[in-house]
Symmetry: C2
Subunit: 342 residues, 2 copies
């Protein structure tokens, strides 16, 4: 099996570090770390995520969006384990000569997202540094069994919490015209309400922060299964993202090749639990999208041009890193790995 | 009252951010954030601290020490609220071309400190960036009333968990001879065991991460009281730090003027609880050092040359920042604000 490049690094960094006997999940098994609280039936969900490359590469340039995303990427990890949000710690490293208006917009973005996600800011740390570096830690509580990436079985059905591809469309627009303002709207909200509901009905769950294909690859690897995407890509791709891709002559699958996603949830449900999903989702007016099903045969098989085609999910996932940030080379090589338009 | 410069910034950043109704502490009232867990008598202690300036200025250059300190600074905040450690999240931003041996030493430092503090690494995040940026979040649990910076009353006695000044001696050595290796030993261990014990006997507590005088200033401000340091500075200054200061013709008080401390605890105890402190401390073979007492009259009054002298604690605390990192100017101006040798 081809390895995931980012996992190599994390595995090397984690080797030799002491682990906790109260921790429920192993490395890469869930979007947030899950720790059973001694002497209680509560499980603490913890996650930390920084925006470093996203700022350095100009993917996120607007300070309000940086603040919004700092909260959202962390809230999304809580959503994927079905945790109720407790709060957020914010660790801000800012240049001493940073524009006060830039900082004010950043703080507004953090505050707006904290309110939208009902994730109060508990505290944090401030530092001076040459380049802005924003990190945050989100904390949540799970009562009962948390949701993890593990638990999908052949025969389960695969769903998305909403249309996918907005993250990819946004990133491609920034990548292809980094100077010009992008017209692809991007202001995702983490699916906390949906994640809490899925805890009762889903067999496995992960957010699409790294793009849909990377998420599918991870769910397949964690569970030793394959995925068969029976619905055509147009059926579950965000309409605005699809229009933007069409206008730029980019085939729809490119929107899902990552590594920048839209913070929706991808999850699997046992066939006998689909009605429970529909009932619970209907009660909050949320329509999950069915994409396909889990197969015993490993590999990602996708509907295309009236038939099916197998994609090299791990290869696609690693490609951006392997191209060392060269957008031309990335798109050229991607073209050979993905279905075109039809 | 003169304001503390760092608090200005934090206050501005925190303004407008939504707070949690489950949070026990207000801004600056405790070393870690304290959150009551709904439906339980447990209090979660959370703290996040990054090493940014410490690396950028060369204060910490040895990668093992950087890793050790990343854990220790966060563990020390848990100690100051009397929390039992649950675990740590590590957020590492590293240059893509970082020396693998440098990274390996960093990870060893993190692992060694995690073991020493019984603070398992739960997870984290890795990013690529031009300069190394290390942040961590520590999580702990408090059963019952947590310890905060608030609660000191006139008549309470002031203690330190151990001799102070090692952090100042280390920083001064690096500041005055940044290129040469320092011979001042510095490898502090957070006072987790002592903090857990103090939860039952102390009225207020704070760690000396920012130096003893800054810590005294903060305890005075939080409690609207003064402090009278009755023991001469030589009696509670770390002997190795004192020798180094003498050799460099630096008066002992300079070791405590910050902003880099040694991660001991400064705490206050009601007179009627001192025997309980002695009993509990004796049981674990720990000798707390009495420094002085809490006064109704605001201000820091210190024993010097057979008499007493008042120090401008807030002014001393702000001086390093006001000097913009110019060590010569800092030491010159400090000389006028502190007692000399006698």
């Amino acid at each position: 099996m081809t390895t995931v490049l980012e996992h190599d690094l994390i595995g090397r960094l984690a080797a030799g570090l002491p682990r906790s006997s109260s921790q429920i999940n192993g490395l890469h098994e869930s979007d947030a770390e899950l720790v059973r609280l001694p002497g209680s039936d509560l499980v603490l969900a913890l996650t930390t995520d920084a925006l470093a490359e996203e700022i350095a590469t100009g993917l996120y340039a607007d300070p309000w969006l940086i603040g919004w995303m700092l909260v959202t990427v962390n809230a999304s990890d809580l959503a994927a384990v079905g945790a109720d949000p407790l709060g957020l710690l914010v660790c801000e490293t800012l240049p001493p000569d940073a524009d006060p208006e830039w900082i004010a917009a950043l703080q507004r973005g953090i505050a707006d997202a904290a309110v939208a996600h009902e994730l109060p800011v508990l505290g944090g740390d401030t530092n001076a540094g040459a380049a802005p570096h924003l990190a945050a830690t989100a904390v949540g509580l799970v009562r009962g069994r948390p949701l993890t990436r593990c638990g999908a079985r052949p025969g389960d059905l695969l769903f998305a919490s909403g249309p996918l591809g907005a993250g990819g469309a946004y990133a491609l627009a920034r990548l292809l015209a980094p100077g010009g303002g992008t017209t692809v709207p991007f202001r995702p909200t983490a699916r906390l309400r949906e994640g809490a509901l899925l805890r009762e009905v889903a067999s496995a769950c992960m957010d699409t922060s790294d793009g849909a294909i990377a998420t599918m690859d991870e769910l397949m690897t964690r569970n030793g299964v394959g995925l068969r995407i029976e619905r055509s890509v147009e059926a579950w791709t965000d309409p605005a993202a699809l229009s933007a891709a069409n206008a730029a002559a980019i085939p729809p699958w490119f929107l899902h090749a990552g590594p920048h996603g839209e913070f929706e949830l991808l999850f699997t449900v046992r066939p006998e639990r689909v009605q429970a999903l529909d009932n619970a989702a209907g009660a909050i007016g949320w329509p999950p999208l069915q994409l396909g099903s889990v197969t015993a045969e490993p590999g990602l098989v996708v509907a295309h041009a009236g038939g099916y085609r197998t994609l090299d999910a791990t290869g696609i996932r690693n490609l951006f890193g392997e191209c060392g940030g060269d957008p031309g080379r990335y798109l050229r090589e991607l073209r050979g790995m993905l279905p075109g338009r039809h």
